[in-house]
C-alpha cells in the first residue's frame, strides 16, 4: 500500500494536530541539535590534523617550593624542550615548537594595510601539524630566514601573485619579510590560530632569542607526535632523564626545596574541550532537556491522536492486516511528519543563523565536520526510530475487540507521565536560566576594583616617538578631556608574570601579575590609590619604583618577617632587578571575574617623559595612552580622540577603545551562553504550553460525556475544572521538584568555575516553580474551558 501517500493525506486532516506536532518537534530539534552540535564542535577542535589522536601538547607543570601547594600547568615550555623530547625520548616521533608574535597590522610595499596573526615556527611545524601548500615548499621556507608563508585567506585579501612580495609589520618597522609560500587557511576549529608563519630562525630579528633555552623563556607551544600505541604516561621516565641531563634538575630541586618541574602530554583533541567543561555541562543538559521535552510532547500528541483512530487499526486487521502492516502504516505517517519537522528545523536554523553565529562566535559552517555530523545523524536516526516505533507498537497492540467497543483510554496516567517530563524540563531550564543570568550580571556589574567610567585608550604602536608629546598635548587641550595617562598594560587583558625574590635573592617567593610601567595619571584614571605609603609622583618616586597590591604586601610580610610593613623596603623582582616599594593598593580583578588571575599585582613607576624617551629610543616600544573624559562628554568624543591619534599615525589606523565596553567583552562567553539559555528556555516553555494545550483539549473531548453527565447531575463547571487542574498540578509539583533538583546540581557544578558566586537563594527556586505552576494552570484552563464548557445536552447528542 502506498503508505506515504496516505500519510501525507492525513497531514491536512483536522484533529490530527499535525501543524502543532511539526512545529514543536521542529523547534525542539532545531534548538537541541544546534546545542548538541556546539558541544560536539568543541570536541572537534584540531581533529582535522592527520593522526590527531597521536598529537600531544607538552605542558609544563611547575611548583616553586614547599610554600605553594598546587602545581600550575601551562601549555607552554622553554624552546629546547621540543627538540629535546624528540632527541632523548623514544616514542616521540616528531616534535615542533611555535610561538606567537601577536596579531599585527602589516603593510605591503604598495602601502596597503592588512591584519593577521603571526607566529614563529621551527622547520618541523608542518611535519607535525600539516597544512596543504598551495604554493611554495614549507620545509624550505621554514629553514630560510626572513621568509614567510601566508594563508590562502590573507593571500586572497592581498590579491593574486603574492609569492615574492615583501611585507612589513607595524610593530617592527624596517624588518622586511618575503612571502615565499601560501598554505591552506586553517579551519575555525583550531586551538592555535595563525595566518602568517615566520621561520623560528628569524626570531632574533624581532625579539630576544631563547629558542634553545632549557629553562625559562617558556613561551613555546610544543607539540609532539607519538608513535602508534604509545601511552604518553609511559614516557615520564625518559622525560625525567632528559631533564637530568639538560636541566640539571636534581641540583635545582636540592637548591629549591619542594620545587617541582615536570612535563606532561595532553592530547591535542582535548585542548579545547577540557577548558570548557562548565559550558559543555550546561549546554548539553539544556540540549538534552529540549530534545526530551519536545520528543515527549510529540509522543503525547501522537498517542492522543492515535487513540481516536484505534478503530481504523482494528478495521485494517479485519481486512487481513498483520501487526507489521499496521506498524508500517503508523511508521510512515511518523516518518512524513518527522521529515517535515526536520525540514522545519533546518529552516529555523537557517533563520537564526546570523544570530547564532554572533552568539557562538564561529560560523555554523565550521560545525560541518565528521566529529559533529556523525553523532548528530546518529541521534536524529535514533530519535526518528524512537518516535516512529513507540506509537507504531502501541497502536498495533490495541486489541481489535476492545477497539470496536468504543476504545477510549480509560486512564490518562500515561499522558500525565509524558507531561511530567515537560514540567521537569521547563522547571530545570527556567531555574538554570535565572541563576545563570543572575551570576552573569553579578560578574559583569559588580565592581572590579578599578574605574572604567569615561575611560578610553589607544596604543602608541606605529607612532613615531617624537610625535607622542604633541598627541598628549592635543588630547589635554580637548575640553572634554579630564586627564591623560600612560601605562603598559590594562587590568582587563590580564598580565604576564615575574617573580619576587627573597632578600638574599636565593629564593623566588611568589609570582606576581606584572603590569610593568605606569605613570601617576594612569593609576589615578583607573582609580588605583594607595592605602599605605605614597602614590607615584615626580617628587616622591623615581623611575622603577614599585607599588604592590595588598595581597603581595601580605605575602612579603609573612615571607620576609616585615612585621612593620613593606613601604620603603627594597625587593628584587625578576626582569626588573632591585626596586623600592612606594605604596600598597587594594587588589583589583585581573582579567575577568569569570577567569580571574589571583596573583598579587605590581606597577612600576615610569614618568611621562621616560615613556616618551623610551619610545624615541626604540621604535618597537609601544604603550597605552589612557584618556579620561568628563562625565558631561558626548558620545562623539571617541571619534575626536581617534582623530588626534591619527594625526600622529602615518596610516591613520588608530583604534580607540572604551574601557568599560572592553571589560564587558571579557564576558562574551558568558553572555553568549546566557543567550543560548534564553533561547532554549523559550523553546521549552513554548513546547510545554503546546503540550498542555493539546492535553487539555484532548482531555476535555475525551471526558465530554462524563462532564456532561456530571453537569446534568448538578456539578458546577468550576468544580470540574478545579478537579482537572488539581490532577494536573499534582503531577506538576513532583516533576518540578525533579527539575529543580537537576537545576541545582547542574548550576552548583557550573558555579565551581567562579571565584565569586551568587548565593543559591531558595526564593529563586520557589519563584521559578510558581511561574511554571501558574503557566500550567493558565494554559490548561484556557483550552479545557474552551473545549469542555458547552451545553451538556449538545455534548451528549454528539456522542
Amino acid at each position: 500500500m502506498n503508505y506515504i501517500k496516505i500519510a501525507t493525506r492525513r497531514l491536512f486532516k483536522k484533529g490530527e494536530h499535525s501543524a502543532t506536532r511539526i512545529i514543536s518537534l521542529a523547534a525542539g530539534l532545531a534548538f537541541g541539535i544546534l546545542l548538541l552540535a556546539e558541544v560536539l564542535y568543541y570536541h572537534s577542535f584540531d581533529s582535522f590534523y592527520p593522526d590527531a589522536d597521536r598529537l600531544f601538547v607538552v605542558h609544563e607543570n611547575f611548583k616553586m617550593d614547599k610554600s605553594s601547594d598546587k602545581l600550575s600547568s601551562y601549555a607552554s615550555t622553554s624552546g629546547a624542550i621540543g627538540p629535546g623530547l624528540k632527541a632523548e625520548v623514544p616514542g616521540v616521533e616528531m616534535a615542533t615548537r611555535i610561538t606567537h608574535m601577536g596579531t599585527s597590522v602589516f603593510y605591503t610595499e604598495d602601502q596597503k594595510k592588512y591584519k593577521a596573526q603571526f607566529i614563529l615556527a621551527d622547520e618541523f611545524f608542518f611535519d607535525v601539524m600539516p597544512r596543504s601548500m598551495v604554493e611554495g615548499n614549507a620545509k624550505e621556507i621554514l629553514k630560510s630566514p626572513m621568509n614567510c608563508m601566508i594563508s590562502t585567506k590573507i593571500a586572497s585579501e592581498i590579491g593574486g601573485g603574492v609569492v615574492g612580495k615583501v611585507i612589513e609589520l607595524k610593530e617592527y618597522p624596517g624588518k622586511k619579510l618575503t612571502i615565499a609560500g601560501v598554505f591552506e587557511e586553517l579551519p575555525e576549529n583550531t586551538n592555535y590560530e595563525y595566518d602568517v608563519v615566520v621561520p623560528l630562525i628569524s626570531i632574533g630579528k624581532f625579539m630576544w632569542d631563547g629558542s634553545d633555552n632549557w629553562l625559562g623563556n617558556d613561551r613555546y607551544y610544543t607539540c609532539v607526535k607519538l608513535g602508534k600505541g604509545i601511552k604518553p604516561e609511559s614516557l615520564a621516565p625518559a622525560v625525567r632523564k632528559m631533564q637530568e641531563k639538560h636541566q640539571d634538575i636534581v641540583k635545582l630541586e636540592e637548591k629549591h626545596g619542594g620545587m617541582v618541574l615536570k612535563y606532561t602530554f595532553k592530547p591535542i583533541l582535548k585542548m579545547h574541550s577540557d577548558n570548557l567543561q562548565d559550558i559543555i555541562l550546561i549546554l548539553s543538559s539544556i540540549a538534552i532537556a529540549v530534545l526530551i521535552v519536545s520528543l515527549m510532547n510529540y509522543i503525547l500528541l501522537t498517542l492522543s491522536v492515535l487513540i481516536s483512530r484505534a478503530k481504523s487499526s482494528a478495521v485494517h486487521k479485519t481486512c487481513g492486516a498483520q501487526p507489521r502492516n499496521i506498524q508500517q502504516m503508523i511508521f510512515s505517517e511518523t516518518a512524513v511528519l518527522f521529515a517535515l519537522s526536520l525540514v522545519g528545523a533546518l529552516l529555523i536554523v537557517l533563520a537564526v543563523k546570523p544570530l547564532a553565529e554572533n552568539e557562538l562566535g564561529h560560523s555554523l559552517g565550521a560545525v560541518l565536520n565528521p566529529i559533529v555530523i556523525i553523532p548528530i545523524v546518529g541521534i536524529v536516526i535514533f530519535i526518528m526510530a524512537l518516535i516512529s516505533y513507540l506509537p507504531a507498537r502501541f497502536f498495533s497492540k490495541i486489541p481489535v475487540v476492545s477497539a470496536f467497543r468504543q476504545y477510549k483510554q480509560k486512564k490518562n496516567k500515561w499522558k500525565l507521565a509524558l507531561l511530567s517530563f515537560q514540567f521537569a524540563g521547563a522547571a530545570f531550564i527556567l531555574t538554570t536560566l535565572v541563576i545563570v543570568t543572575l551570576q552573569y550580571d553579578n560578574l559583569k556589574n559588580s565592581p572590579h576594583g578599578y574605574n572604567t567610567e569615561g575611560v578610553y585608550f589607544g596604543s602608541t604602536s606605529g607612532m613615531s616617538g617624537s610625535k607622542i608629546g604633541t598627541v598628549l598635548h592635543q588630547l589635554r587641550s580637548m575640553p572634554e578631556v579630564e586627564k591623560v595617562g600612560l601605562g603598559a598594560c590594562l587590568p582587563i587583558y590580564g598580565a604576564s608574570g615575574n617573580n619576587v625574590l627573597s632578600p638574599d635573592k636565593e629564593k623566588e617567593l611568589f609570582n606576581v601579575a606584572d603590569f610593568y610601567s605606569a605613570d601617576e595619571n594612569y593609576l589615578s584614571i583607573l582609580g588605583v590609590s594607595v592605602q599605605r605609603g605614597e602614590m607615584f609622583s615626580e617628587k616622591a618616586a623615581v623611575r622603577g619604583d614599585v607599588i604592590i597590591s595588598q595581597k603581595g604586601a601580605e605575602m612579603l610580610k609573612i615571607n620576609n618577617g616585615w612585621t612593620e610593613g613593606v613601604v620603603g623596603k627594597d625587593v628584587t623582582i625578576t626582569e626588573h632587578g632591585n626596586t623600592t616599594i612606594r605604596g600598597v593598593y587594594s587588589d583589583f580583578i585581573v582579567g575577568s571575574k569569570a577567569n580571574p588571575d589571583s596573583r598579587p599585582s605590581v606597577f612600576f613607576y615610569r614618568p611621562e617623559a621616560a615613556f616618551i624617551k623610551a619610545a624615541q629610543k626604540n621604535s618597537a616600544y609601544s604603550f597605552k595612552i589612557m584618556v579620561k573624559v568628563h562625565s558631561t562628554a558626548q558620545t562623539g568624543v571617541m571619534k575626536k580622540i581617534e582623530k588626534v591619534f591619527n594625526s600622529a599615525l602615518p596610516y591613520n589606523d588608530a583604534v580607540i577603545k572604551s574601557l568599560s565596553l572592553e571589560q564587558g567583552k571579557r564576558y562574551t562567553k558568558q553572555r553568549g551562553f546566557r543567550n543560548a539559555m534564553v533561547a532554549g528556555n523559550i523553546v521549552i516553555l513554548l513546547i510545554t504550553i503546546i503540550g498542555l494545550l493539546g492535553y487539555a483539549t484532548n482531555e476535555a473531548i475525551r471526558r465530554k460525556k462524563e462532564l456532561a453527565i456530571r453537569q446534568i447531575n448538578g456539578a458546577k463547571f468550576s468544580d470540574i475544572l478545579r478537579i482537572f487542574l488539581m490532577d494536573l498540578e499534582l503531577v506538576a509539583i513532583p516533576a518540578i521538584i525533579v527539575g529543580l533538583v537537576g537545576a541545582w546540581f547542574t548550576v552548583d557544578k557550573w558555579m565551581e568555575n567562579f571565584a565569586s558566586k551568587i548565593p543559591l537563594h531558595w526564593g529563586i527556586f520557589l519563584g521559578c516553580s510558581l511561574f511554571i505552576l501558574v503557566l500550567v494552570a493558565v494554559a490548561s484552563t484556557i483550552n479545557f474551558t474552551r473545549n469542555a464548557n458547552q451545553n451538556p445536552v449538545d455534548a451528549l447528542r454528539t456522542e
Binding site: I6, K311, V315, H316, T318, G320, Q322, V400, V401
Partner: protein
C-alpha cells in the same frame, strides 16, 4: 465448516468472573445463512467476534474448516482473515482517510494481489454495486446506506467463504436495510456462508436458520421456517 464445542467467554475482574457466553455448542455448515438474535448484552457480538477470530474463547474448542482455531497463532488467523472471512459492521467502520476505491481495495492489498488484478476486481464490484461514480469520494461524503454498501463490497471483494455481519442494518432506514438484506441473500445464494446478528425478525427471515441467545446461553436454534417457541 464451523464447529463450536462448549465455548465459554468470561471477563475476569478482581473478585469475580462474568460470563458472557456459557457452554455454546454450534455447528454451521457451508452455505448456511444464520441469524443470531437476542436481547442487548446477550453476547451476540462476542460470539460473532469469536467466530471471526477477533476474540478468543476463554474455554472450549473451535474448529474452522476442521482446523482447531484455539490452537492457531495470530499470524495464521490473519491468513484466515485474508482468505476466508469478511466482516460487516453496524457502524460501517470504513477507513475514513481512504477513498471508496481504496477502502474496497484494502483486503486485496493485504492479500498480496497485484495492482492490475486489483483494479479489475474493484472495478467489477463497483459496477455490481452501482458505485462507480462514487469511487473517489471519502466515506463522510456518502449516505449511511451507501457507506454500508462500500462496507459489504470491502467484505466480499476477496471472495471470502464466510461473511460475518454485526447488525448490518442497525443504523439504516428500513428501505436501505431491505436493499442490504437482499444483497446478502443474493451473496448467500451464490454460495457464501453468512452469519448475521440482528434485532429484526423480518431481517432474520432472509436467512435459513435462527439462533436465539439469552444471557450467553443458546436458547433456541431452529430453521427460519420453523415456529419459534421463545420469540415473543
Amino acid at each position: 465448516m464451523i464447529s463450536l464445542k462448549d465455548i465459554d467467554r468470561y471477563y475476569q475482574s478482581r473478585f469475580q468472573r462474568t460470563f458472557v457466553l456459557k457452554g455454546v455448542d454450534m455447528e454451521i455448515k457451508s452455505g448456511e445463512f444464520v441469524s443470531i438474535m437476542g436481547p442487548s448484552g446477550a453476547g451476540k457480538s462476542t460470539l460473532l467476534n469469536i467466530i471471526g477470530m477477533l476474540d478468543d474463547p476463554s474455554a472450549g474448542e473451535y474448529y474452522f474448516m476442521d482446523n482447531p482455531v484455539h490452537k492457531l497463532k495470530d499470524k495464521q488467523k490473519t491468513e484466515y482473515h485474508r482468505n476466508h472471512i469478511g466482516f460487516i459492521f453496524q457502524a460501517y467502520h470504513l477507513i475514513e482517510n481512504l477513498t471508496v476505491y481504496e477502502n474496497i481495495e484494502t483486503p486485496l492489498v493485504y492479500k498480496g494481489i497485484k495492482s492490475k488484478e486489483r483494479k479489475a476486481m474493484v472495478a467489477d464490484i463497483l459496477d455490481r454495486f452501482n458505485m462507480v461514480a462514487k469511487k473517489d469520494l471519502f466515506p463522510d461524503q456518502l449516505s449511511g446506506g451507501q457507506q454500508q454498501l462500500v462496507g459489504i463490497a470491502r467484505a466480499v471483494i476477496a471472495n471470502p467463504t464466510l461473511l460475518l455481519a454485526d447488525e448490518p442494518t442497525g443504523n439504516l432506514h428500513s428501505e436501505q436495510g431491505e436493499m442490504i438484506m437482499e444483497l446478502l441473500q443474493e451473496l448467500n445464494k451464490e454460495g457464501m456462508t453468512i452469519i448475521q446478528v440482528t434485532h429484526s425478525e423480518k431481517n432474520a427471515q432472509y436467512g435459513t436458520r435462527i439462533v436465539r441467545l439469552v444471557d450467553g446461553l443458546v436458547r433456541e436454534d431452529i430453521p427460519t421456517n420453523a415456529k419459534s417457541l421463545v420469540a415473543e
